[in-house]
């Protein structure tokens, strides 16, 4: 599978295995094609999860991770890509409808925009909240004081 | 004065028919009082019986076995803040519970607790009962509209649609029972509640058994329709807690809410008494044919007293089962007093003079109580219908069945 992909796309695609779990590191530009191919060509028809991680020290700060599963092959694969702050990434809603809320959550928590998402807004936090809490520079006690004061009428949510 | 009362006791007319205003007011007061007590008792019984069906104890704290719970509830409701939503239509919001209660209580003017124990005997009695009980839906619609909120509005729309549709099936079932009254010696039927029971007495058969299974089917249709008519489980969609929070009375609280509560339970009692009057022989004692004769009459006339004695014995038994701890002393004494009270009522009812007068009322209330128990039983057993299913049951099952029973009753009545 990986060999086939490499033949097709050349660089911009690496495959790794850690503790028996496979993952692909894919260039951002190839993301929509690879995801489509994984679903249609390799039967990864079930998008288990979609998440991200923040590495403030890297040049491309964010890593977006798709976890896929194939019922046919009983196999999991992870697809990862790195993007910089402010970059957007094409949405996967058209490929797996599951991605709808998951992408909203990633946006909510990390501030990563998904281009083409039908309803890109916060999901867990309130609509007017400022900041994206799962970024590493967002402290664990930090909160949107202004929002708390306006909407809850208290000085602090703690 | 005493002579006056005595002369009345011998009368065989209802106060309304006799044109006796004073006695009519006394009867109204008695019925109002009895109804309030019945609703309170029903509240306690429903909670207790439902609890025992559901492997729990129910109210146990206020008074022995929670006997004083309804009183505490009533006090709580009266003392609660009476909230009126700011956007509500004040006048209609205020009027709605009154209409509901009025409609539920006015019905009882023609309910015959015995051959002379009714406020009045109208010759359109059953028509009056159906008509007045259908006025309650106006109050419900008004309550839902006046609250100016979505849940009550949907609840009210559901409720009115439901009650109007089930009234049709209910009416058909009633008509087939009324048809049966015309097959007596004189050959004339009657709409009067007392007349219907007397027709059953004359013909020597309760209408539930007449033209078997036609009478039974008619009663079945009525028994289903009456549950829907009073918005009780499994037809409790207007107040479906899990869907509409509380339906049309979502915005009501305190005393106004308790009026709705009162109306719901008295409406249940009212429709049950229609069913009892039409099909179960009203105040007549069971098995008049099988177990006839003066000896059996005597035995059955002992039943009211004996059942109260049995209740008293139950209370006494439970008094001895109370935990022997000083903490429970008040409760134990209370339960013992309650047992003594029941036993005294029982003994009083065994006395020869009282016995004959009380047994009519006893049998009527006993039959109504059976229906009340059924209401509780349904609530413990059935899930709730969905709105389209409810309408389907009403229009596609009960209405054709009611029409069929009516036509068959007419045919059989002509042929027999």
């Amino acid at each position: 599978m990986v060999a086939k992909f490499k033949g097709q796309y050349g660089t911009g695609l690496e495959s790794w295995t850690y503790l028996g779990q496979n993952y692909l590191i894919v260039d951002r530009a190839l993301i929509p094609d690879i995801l489509m191919l994984l679903r249609d060509g390799e039967q990864f028809d079930y998008c288990v999860d979609l998440t991200a991680a923040h590495y403030p020290t890297r040049e491309k700060q964010f890593e977006v991770i798709w976890i896929l599963y194939s019922f046919e092959r009983n196999e999991r694969v992870r697809v990862k890509t790195s993007i910089a702050e402010g970059d957007s990434i094409p949405t996967a809603v058209g490929i797996w409808p599951t991605a709808n809320w998951l992408e909203r959550e990633v946006y909510d928590m990390f501030g990563i925009q998904f281009a083409g998402h039908p309803d890109m807004k916060r999901i867990l936090l309130p609509d007017g909240w400022k900041g994206h809490p799962l970024r590493k520079d967002y402290g664990i006690l930090q909160q949107d004081q202004e929002w708390v004061q306006i909407n809850l009428g208290i000085e602090s949510g703690q | 004065m005493l002579e006056y009362i005595k002369s009345y006791l011998g009368s065989n007319l209802t106060p309304g028919s006799a044109g006796n205003m004073l006695w009519a007011f006394v009867y109204i007061a008695l019925i109002f009082l009895g109804l309030s007590v019945a609703v309170i008792a029903m509240n306690w019984l429903e909670r207790k019986i439902l609890a025992h069906m559901q492997v729990r104890l129910g109210p146990m704290r206020v008074g022995p076995h929670g006997l004083l719970q309804p009183v505490a509830d009533a006090l709580k409701l009266l003392l609660k803040e009476d909230i009126m939503p700011a956007e509500a239509d004040k006048l209609v919001f205020w009027l709605a519970p009154l209409i509901v209660v009025l409609a539920a209580f006015a019905v009882f003017t023609v309910v015959p607790f015995g051959p002379t124990h009714a406020v009045t005997d109208m010759n359109i009695g059953i028509l009056f009962m159906l008509g007045v009980s259908s006025l309650g839906v106006l109050g419900i619609v008004m309550a839902g509209w006046a609250s100016n909120s979505h849940y009550p509005l949907i609840g009210a729309l559901r409720s009115s649609a439901q009650m109007v549709s089930y009234e049709v099936a209910m009416g058909l079932a009633v008509v087939s029972a009324v048809l049966m009254t015309s097959m007596n010696a004189q050959g004339t039927g009657t709409l009067s509640m007392i007349g219907i029971v007397q027709a059953q007495q004359q013909q020597g058969v309760w209408f539930i058994f007449k033209f078997f299974p036609l009478g039974f089917m008619a009663m079945g249709i009525f028994a289903i329709a009456m549950v829907a008519e009073t918005n009780r489980a499994p037809f409790d969609l207007p107040e479906a807690e899990s869907e509409l929070t509380a339906g049309f009375h979502t915005e009501y609280s305190g005393f106004r809410w308790s009026l709705f509560f009162l109306a719901e339970y008295s409406a249940m009692i009212a429709v049950s008494s229609i069913a009892v009057t039409l099909w179960l022989g009203g105040w007549l004692r069971p098995f008049p044919n099988l177990l006839g004769g003066p000896l059996w009459d005597l035995v059955f006339s002992l039943a009211p007293g004996l059942s109260f004695l049995a209740l008293g014995a139950m209370a006494a038994f439970n008094t001895f089962r109370m935990p022997r701890h000083s903490f429970f002393r008040v409760q134990t004494v209370g339960l013992a007093l309650f047992a003594v009270l029941l036993a005294m009522i029982g003994v009083l009812m065994l006395a020869p003079g009282v016995r004959e007068r009380v047994q009519d009322i006893f049998w009527f209330c006993f039959k109504v109580a059976v229906f009340m128990y059924l209401y509780i039983w349904y609530r413990g057993t059935f899930p709730r219908y969905r709105f389209d299913q409810l309408m389907r049951v009403g229009w596609k099952v009960l209405l054709p069945a009611g029409l069929g029973v009516l036509i068959l009753t007419a045919i059989v009545g002509v042929l027999v």
Partner: protein, 385 residues
């Protein structure tokens, strides 16, 4: 309709004029966050045409506690109790998933006896979770009695938990590397006694509901979802199986000691609420079978693997998932070699299953929304984390 809530309705086109009975009657109803049928603080905005649902939008996050953020500031051991607070009715399953994920990351394995204890407790927890689901689901549909029956029997399970680890709900039963506690005296006996006690009780629930005409009418054909839609929406657990997909992680990718046991995966055919009910009832019986086998075959031996005092997994990342009562519960952990996870992501089954609500209720009636929320078996603690 000048409603304050309409501004948040974006995908429900409020200006549609066709396909309605009476345009003025298009109601927007706000269901929740305080509503008896939303199982917590779920808020559903319903667009109604009379009784018919034209569209829904879920508003969640009222119970958001930032579990994933907390994880980044706690050591692996310290974070263990937090996972119990996600799906609080199936806390044992959450703990199992987390412990196994960290074990996989550290490349250690729990000893067999620990695995068996884990299986017994997890299956008991699955039973408790399904019982709670059944009670509340039946209550939503209007049958109040099953709730009390199921709670009575769930109590016995909670008693076993309490005796084992001292807590009833948020158990924190397992530790990374195995179990902290040995089974108490008479554990096997009590579990066996419970099995013989509960089997007839499950028949009792079925007696109340399975052939109850109103129950069948209320649930059959309601909230239909096809197998394809389930997979596309990532819906897992009993909901997926009721649509006819025989997929259970306990069989597909066995973890703990599940490969030792003989059990079936019940599936449904129609993918409606009634089938989901039947599947969950059958799953309760299968759980009993697994527990029976596990109790009979529990091996002797240590209950804790050799793990360092300070847990410092090597640099790397791992995804591990288990079959929780609600579906696939996954943990994605990124380790930077320190004592705290660099990033911990929970794949919550309730959150993803809830996404299917809109599709399942469209075109049905208000009462069905309640039934479908119940049948999805969501726990808001897990949806919002």
């Amino acid at each position: 309709m000048n409603d304050p809530i309409t501004h948040s309705l974006s995908h429900l086109d409020l200006n549609t004029k066709d396909e309605t009975f009476l345009d003025s009657n298009e109601l927007i109803i706000n269901m929740g966050p305080q509503h008896p049928a939303t199982h917590g603080v779920l808020r559903v905005i319903l667009k109604l045409d009379g009784e018919k649902v034209l569209g829904t939008e879920c508003v969640i996050g009222y119970l958001h506690r930032g579990v994933e953020k907390i994880a980044e500031h706690r050591t692996y051991t310290m974070f263990n109790p937090y996972v119990d607070r996600m799906d609080y009715v199936a806390a044992v399953s959450n703990g199992l998933g987390y412990c196994q994920a960290v074990e996989t990351l550290m490349n250690v394995e729990a000893p067999p006896r620990a695995k068996y204890i884990r299986v017994i407790l997890t299956e008991l927890n699955r039973l408790a979770s399904h019982q709670l689901w059944l009670g509340t689901h039946a209550l939503d549909i209007g049958a109040i009695t099953p709730l009390f029956y199921t709670f009575r029997d769930r109590e016995e399970i909670l008693k076993i938990f309490e005796k084992y680890c001292g807590a009833r709900l948020t158990t924190h039963a397992f530790r990374i590397g195995g179990c902290l506690y040995e089974t108490y005296d008479g554990f096997e006996r009590e579990v066996k006694k419970f099995l013989t006690f509960v089997a007839p009780k499950i028949d009792e629930y079925e007696e109340l509901l399975t052939t109850n005409r109103i129950w069948v009418e209320r649930t059959r054909g309601v909230g239909y979802i096809s197998a394809e839609d389930c997979i596309a929406l990532g819906v897992t657990g009993p909901v997926l199986r009721a649509s006819g997909v025989r997929w259970d992680l306990r069989k597909a990718q066995p973890y703990a000691a599940y490969s030792d046991f003989d059990f079936d995966i019940p599936i449904g055919e129609n993918g409606d609420t009634y089938d989901r009910y039947l599947v969950r009832m059958a799953e309760m019986r299968q759980s009993l079978r697994i527990i029976q086998q596990a109790v009979d075959g529990i091996p002797e031996g240590p209950i804790m693997a050799k793990i360092p005092k300070v847990i410092k997994p090597p640099v790397g990342e791992i995804y591990h998932s288990i079959e929780a009562p609600k579906g696939e519960l996954g943990y994605f952990i990124v380790s930077d070699g320190s004592t705290q996870p660099y990033r911990l992501r929970v794949r919550p089954p309730s959150f993803i299953n809830l996404q299917a609500l809109d599709q399942m209720v469209k075109g049905q009636m208000i009462a069905d929304v309640v039934a479908v929320i119940g049948t999805l078996d969501i726990v808001l603690g897990e949806v919002d984390r």
